[in-house]
Each structure stands twice: as C-alpha cells, then as structure tokens.
C-alpha cells in the first residue's frame, strides 16, 4: 500500500526502536504489523517463517530479551526498546551455533520450513533447563531440573509448540539432546 493511500485511510504509523541481532533498528510500522511481518517485510530477515499466523505452529519463534516467543502473536509496536534475536543472529563469524550444528549432524529436518523456529525454540529449551524450569513432563515439581536430566520425554514436551509436517520429530529430539550434551 502506498503512503498516500495509507494517509487517505488515516492509518497511524508507530515509531519503534528495536535491537535485532545486535543491530539497532528504527521502524515506522502500522499498529497492526506483527513482529513477524516487521522482521520479514521491513527488515528483510526472512529466516523467521510465517506459516499458521495463529500461534499454533511455532515456525515464527524468535527470542525477545532472551526468551522464546511467537512473533506472529505480538505487535512490532509493542517491542519498543527490546533485544530481539532471530535465526540469522545465531551464527557468529561463520561458526554455527551448537544447536544449528546438531540439527545438521542429526538430520533434524526435511523441507526445512519449520527449522528456524525449531532451532530458536531448542536454544531456549536448553537455557530454560539450565535455569531449572520444570515442564509438564517433569515427574517431581519440587526438585530442580538440570540439563543432565533433560530426557527425550522432556525434550518432546518442551518442543511441543513447534510442529514439523515432515514429521522429523525423532531426529529433532536427537539434535536437541546432542546440543544439550554439548552445552
């Protein structure tokens, strides 16, 4: 839509300053622009995928302030001042993140469309376990969990917000388990 047409519709533009993968970004977005659309359309970071756009599939998972969230279910204009990491921000100086390497090693994908979301989720799953967060698969809520007891059942439960229509789940679980061991 052209700026003129937007002005005719009286649409508001909201100025928003974000840090994306360590880079300061200033945007002027429509209020209804999701963080997902801002990343893909305004910042050309197309690694983050748009699939269901309803918070049901996990393909759009990114980190805000170090926590995994669904970028399709929040507005860009609500992220003022936030630190955002996308799949493009994981690799450093040509070195893949341990989770990225583990997905290749364990063949954790086929078509690859869900993979950026799977990997962003997995990176956070490992951090959540390090922080002692329990899950619905944790037998005893009173005992702190650690990476050492991140069983396959735990990984499956913690990764359940990321769907894979190629059904690579066994290899995804193996990749997360391998990355957890290396972390």
């Amino acid at each position: 839509m052209s700026e003129t047409r937007r002005a005719e519709l009286g649409e508001q533009r909201v100025a928003v300053a974000l840090t994306v993968n360590g880079r300061a970004c200033r945007l002027a977005v429509e209020p209804r622009t999701t963080l997902l659309d801002a990343l893909r359309e305004d910042l050309a970071l197309t690694g983050t995928k748009k699939a269901c756009d309803r918070g049901e599939c996990g393909a759009c998972t990114v980190h805000v302030e170090g926590r995994r969230i669904l970028s399709c279910m929040t507005l860009a204009a609500m992220q003022e001042g936030k630190q955002i990491t996308t799949i493009e921000g994981l690799e450093h100086d040509g070195q893949l993140h341990a989770v990225q390497a583990a997905f290749i090693e364990q063949d954790g994908f086929q078509c690859g469309f869900c993979t950026p979301g799977q990997i962003m989720s997995a990176v956070a799953v490992i951090e959540e376990a390090k922080a002692g967060w329990p899950s619905a698969a944790t037998a005893d809520l009173q005992r702190p969990i650690s990476l050492a007891n991140l069983s396959k059942a735990e990984i499956r439960e913690r990764m359940s917000g990321n769907l894979c229509r190629c059904s690579c789940y066994p290899n995804i679980v193996a990749a997360v388990a391998e990355a957890a061991t290396r972390s």
């Binding site: 209020p31 279910m73 507005l75 609500m78 329990p134 499956r156 439960e157």
Partner: protein
C-alpha cells in the same frame, strides 16, 4: 489484519479512564488471544491500549501467611516456575505447564489467561457462522452441530461453549479472588463469580465492567494447597486444550479426606466447581475408590450431554477421581 490504533498506557488511572470512555477500546497485554481473535474477526476493536508498561503489575508475592498475590501482568512461565508457587500450590504450576506451549507461556499474562475466550470452532470461524457470542441473535451453530468439545454443565440453548483456561480451573478450586480496579477504586471478585453462565447473553462472559482493569489474583492460604494436582486429558499429548480436566486439592486425617477442593475444566462455560461432591467426599477413605466415585457422582445429577459429548459425563468423573487420588498421594 483488521486495522486499529495502538496507544501505550503508563499509568493505571489514565488507562482505566480511557477504557471507561471508549467502548471500542480494548486492553492488550500478551496479545496471544486478542490478536488471534482480531485475525479471525471475532472481535474488532478500533483501539488497543498496551498495558505492558503499567508499573508493579507483574509481581508474584508469596505472602507470609501462605497465600499468593499474582500481578495481572505476570507471565504464565514466571508464575509456573516460581519456587513458592510450586511448593504451596502445585495445582497452579501444573495447570500452567499443561497449557499452551513454552513460547506462549512466555508471552501470555495471567490477567489475559482468565479473560481468554472460548475455543469453540464456530465462534472462531473466519466465515462468520451463526454464533450468539460473536453476533448476538445469530444462533448457535454448535447446539445441533459438531459439539464433541462442548459443555455438559451450565450451557443454554443459545450457547454450549466451554471456557478454555486451565489456570481458571485451579483458581476456582482454590477460592482465589480477582482484584479489579475501576474509577471508584478496587473490588475483589470471588473466582467462582468472575465468569458468567451464558443464559440468553453469552457474549458477556465475565462480571467485569467497562472501565475495569484486572490488577491481580489473590490466592488465599489453604490447608489443601500443598496436596493438590491438575490432571488434563486432551486429544494429543501436549499443546492442546482440555477435553476434560480436573483440579483437586485435599487435606487428610490419615487416609481419610478431611476437606476437598474439586473443579473441572472442559465441561462448562466456566470452571465447574463440584461442591456437592466436595461435601460428600468428606470423611471418605482414599483407599476406597468405590466410595470416592459415588461421592463424585453427587455432582453429576445435573449433567446434560449434547449429541456428541455424552462420553464426557463418565470421563469427567474418572478424571476427577484420578486427580483426587494423586492429590491424596501428596498429602
């Protein structure tokens, strides 16, 4: 997505005044339900007021006397993993951890969780099928449609939808209070009175009025809190709404139940407290499953199935029994 204006709130009094004056304004916190509703055109607010910047509304306080105060802007994850919540009220931690996904739990606020709207597929349908919640007077497509996921208690001919919140079931069982602020100050709403039955006006789902903001949930201390459990049955193992769920909390004398708190999810338009069963369970031995089941049945005399969900009447009683037994093992 339907266009709207976005405003940012910095002060609760001003936010409440803005909401009171503007019938087309909605508060937004996590956004995980509201944005989906807007995308599905189930609600079309002209203005959203982002309340995430309101001060002191994300605190989780473990009170010295054994209760909890949970700020409305606290995120599901933070409440679920809080050491004192896990210790004092495992039923709350479990209800949260069995909800949604890790990503959504990091986003969704506690105030928004208890305000979330039904997952009835007809209500959510983008094609605008008959739904009295969505368009009052348009009819209920679920009443004689596909209603396997719908209510067996508390429904009316104009709406048979269920409330989808797991947390609300735990909070109802624990007699929590919803602390609400309006222009004339705060009021405290007992959890069992917070959600309404549909009657002839299913679009009005809670007793909240325009110009009121949920600021916190207060969970009173209770002798049953520590021996509590949330059991959720669903069509897939994880990341799914409840088909039937139960929150149970017990206090015991030896193996006999001294007092019981019991509520069901997935079966009614609001969290469904089983008060008759609670009374009948008092004094019953945890080692007598037959007597436990008979006492639970005391709350099922008014269950009314729809065409596709009669199985929920038996299932809900079994879920309640199992939840009670697991809570009993924690006593």
């Amino acid at each position: 997505m339907h266009p709207f204006a976005l405003l940012r709130a910095h002060d609760a009094t001003a936010a409440i005044a803005a909401h009171a004056q503007d019938p087309e304004l909605a508060f937004i916190a996590g956004g995980t339900d509201l944005l989906g509703l807007i995308k599905d055109r189930a609600t079309l607010p002209a203005r959203l007021l982002d309340i995430n910047g309101l001060p002191d509304m994300a605190r989780i306080d473990a009170r010295p006397e054994g209760g909890l105060s949970i700020g409305a802007l606290a995120r599901m994850s933070d409440v679920a993993v809080h050491p004192e919540v896990r210790k004092r009220f495992p039923v709350i931690t479990e209800a949260l951890l069995f909800s949604a996904s890790g990503q959504l739990r990091n986003m969704a606020s506690i105030g928004g969780n208890i305000m979330q709207r039904t997952r009835c597929a007809y209500f959510r349908d983008e094609d605008d099928l008959p739904c009295n919640k969505r368009r009052p007077g348009s009819g209920c497509a679920a009443r004689h449609g596909l209603n396997r996921n719908h209510a067996i208690f508390g429904w009316s001919d104009v709406c048979v939808a269920t409330n989808p919140s797991d947390l609300a079931v735990a909070l109802a069982a624990l007699d929590a209070h919803v602390i609400v602020r309006g222009a004339s100050g705060e009021r405290s709403i007992p959890f069992s009175e917070f959600h309404r039955l549909p009657g002839t006006t299913p679009a009005t789902e809670t007793v909240l009025k325009r110009g009121e903001l949920i600021v916190a949930i207060e969970v009173p201390p209770s002798p049953e809190g520590r021996a509590s459990h949330y059991l959720k049955l669903r069509d897939r193992q994880s990341y799914e709404f409840a088909l039937v769920s139960a929150a149970a909390a017990v206090a015991v004398d030896g193996r006999r139940l001294r007092s019981v708190r019991l509520a069901l999810g997935g079966v009614a338009p609001k969290p469904w407290r089983l008060t008759a069963a609670e009374a009948a369970l008092s004094g019953v031995s945890l080692d007598d499953p037959g007597a436990l089941a008979r006492a639970i049945a005391a709350s099922f005399g008014d269950a009314r199935p729809l065409a596709h969900n009669a199985f929920k009447i038996e299932l809900a009683q079994r879920v309640a029994l199992r939840a009670l037994q697991i809570a009993g093992e924690r006593a």
